[in-house]
Amino acid sequence: MSRPAGHSWRAILLVAPALLWTLAFFVLPFAVMVVLSLWERVGSQLVPSWTLANYAKLLERGHFLAALVNSLEVTALVTALSILLAYPFAWILAEQVPKRWQRLALLLAVLPFWTSYVIRSYSWLLVLAKNGIVNQALLASGLIAQPLALANSRTATVIGFVHFFVMLLTLTIYANLVQLPANYRRAAADLGAGALRTFWHVILPLTLPGVMVGAFLTFVLCIGDYITPQILGGNNELLLPQVIMLQIGRRADFPTASALSIVLMLVVTAAYLAAARWLKLERA
């Protein structure tokens, strides 16, 4: 049986705003970026030379490739550390905090989000400085004799990122934990499983979608971030977004910046494909 023509037109009209939005603000800019990545900056001109030379730079220039490797290393480390810290935090919020206090606890957990991202990064720079509060506390406690070189390093970048993403992951894991029926745990206990075994065989597998959604968001936001490594890393190593910004700042070399950005998008796409099984988007 065929659908009435009016029905399909109505469906198209309903979808049209979203479709137009996606075309205007994603497909079109992306197409422009792809085209630009095949051009070249020659002197002060952008020349449509239709070449892959800008992509080849990634392989030809060791410092470009190193930036990609650094980005992957930092992102992997940040994602892993954020999961390890966020999971127990989310579990405490969901299981140990009384129901009536959970909203307040969640509010307190997301409070750092309310501060500007840039201000938070500069604050970390002061906290981790040679004369900052961390070194002062360690020196006063006698744990160290000389201040630690924490600021302007990969360590500082990772700390800045983790502080931000732990909150994000806490929210996605918490949302998953509170949806688990208490009967699952009772059933596992009835069958003789201890707390650890219940967690490992029941709770953890059932909360993996929440973990993976948070991990994927962390990966995407972290690998594309320019501010945190720029402020906290001290330029002692470069991540790929910093190299992209370098191409634009003075010379406006948009072709090279576009090619490197597309490489970054490919990495994110690969991460999505790897995590797709857990993201469960097909439910929609």
């Binding site: 002060s44 004369n131 470069l238 370098l246 070399d253």
Partner: protein
């Protein structure tokens, strides 16, 4: 009057005052759009011009000439009226046909420090397209309580092991490459592709003793908090605003000299308000405007107009090293102004340096 009500009335009164004051620019009969560096965004500098001309000056500040050129490319002709640009990039703007010729007889060219007239940068075919408005040095800033000030008189200190992990480097390749060149005895104006391998090796040596490479805020923070004791690429623009809190912060032009930077102002060729834009340029170049620009809240630096000295206080002049300028200008070299091709190679060397 009950205290809460008094407080409420005071708040309402204050809000009305703010609205009325803000109204003077908001109700202006005309708008002037200027693409500027952050020092022009100080209300102390802009408000007198707005009041005098009944105009609202809309300011967009940017970092990096590439960013400015992108903004211009994405704008409609006539969107922008006034352009503040790095002195070494003025020829680039003239070549791109962005700037309108300025009437020489209405500009205080004779009052500028002679080194700041820069006809090679500002003129083409006898026409003036931009004028220097502010300048300073990329040199060595330091904490004189933590380092031996005598050491700072030698440019080679920037790669010396003596201050390992106590050095920050300002993250801008042109001035720092210029400083390294000066340290190696190479004139900045003559730098060519053949010099890059030597400069690269020396940059790597500097990286091995540096604690960090950072932008303006990161470098300033590092020096102010004691994270480092020396800033390569610093100068009065970094230390002048910090010496109030920490008088130990100082800067010097080494024996070999230093790198001079300057910023210029011009009028966009496509501006529909040529006369008003020219008035703005004349105001910025006037002694009063120059004194305000020199001590703008974003950063301090020397005014290009020598007559600005009449409007600066003695402490301000001391912070700017007013009386030392003759000697400094004689010793300093303009930072490298490479061709687009050499610029790309220099940036690549810098990226390697950062990744090293």
């Amino acid at each position: 009057m009950p205290e809460p009500l008094k407080s409420k009335r005071t708040t309402i009164g204050a809000a009305l005052l703010v609205l009325l004051t803000a109204g003077s620019a908001a109700d202006a009969t005309e708008d002037l759009n200027a693409l500027v560096w952050c020092d022009h965004t100080d209300p102390t500098l802009i408000e007198p011009f707005e009041k005098a001309h009944d105009v609202r000056v809309n300011l967009k500040d940017y970092e990096g000439t590439g960013t400015a050129l992108s903004l211009i490319e994405q704008s409609q002709p006539g969107d922008w009226d006034v352009f503040v640009i790095d002195g070494i990039d003025v020829p680039r703007a003239i070549e791109a046909d962005l700037l309108a010729p300025l009437p020489k007889d209405q500009l205080p060219l004779g009052d500028l420090f002679p080194e700041l007239v820069m006809p090679a940068n500002h003129e083409k075919d006898g026409q003036v397209y931009a004028v220097s408005e502010k300048f300073g040095y990329n040199t060595i800033s330091f904490n004189k309580d933590k380092v031996d000030p005598a050491d700072m008189n030698d440019m080679t200190v920037i790669w010396s092991d003596k201050y390992k992990d106590r050095i920050a480097v300002y993250d801008y390749y042109l001035p720092v490459l210029g400083m390294v060149a000066i340290g190696l005895g190479k004139p900045t104006a003559g730098l060519a592709e053949a010099d890059l391998p030597v400069l690269r090796d020396q940059l790597f040596k500097m990286k091995s003793v540096a604690k960090l490479v950072g932008g303006v805020v990161e470098s300033q923070t590092a020096l102010a908090t004691g994270e480092v004791d020396i800033l390569v690429g610093g100068g009065e623009w970094v230390t002048a605003s910090l010496t109030g809190d920490n008088p130990a912060l100082d800067w010097v032009l080494p024996e070999q000299g230093g790198v001079r930077w300057s910023q210029s102002i011009g009028v966009f060729k496509t501006s529909q308000k040529q006369a008003l834009a020219l008035e703005f340029v004349k105001y910025i170049l006037s002694p009063e405007g120059q004194a305000r620009l020199a001590t703008s809240s974003c950063y301090w630096a020397m005014p290009a107009n020598q007559k600005a000295g009449q409007h600066l206080s003695e402490p301000q002049k001391r912070a700017l090293r007013w009386s030392d300028q003759a000697g400094y200008l004689a010793k300093a070299q303009l930072y490298p102004a490479p061709s687009p091709e050499l610029d790309a190679q220099m940036q690549d060397v810098w990226t390697e340096f950062l990744q090293h």
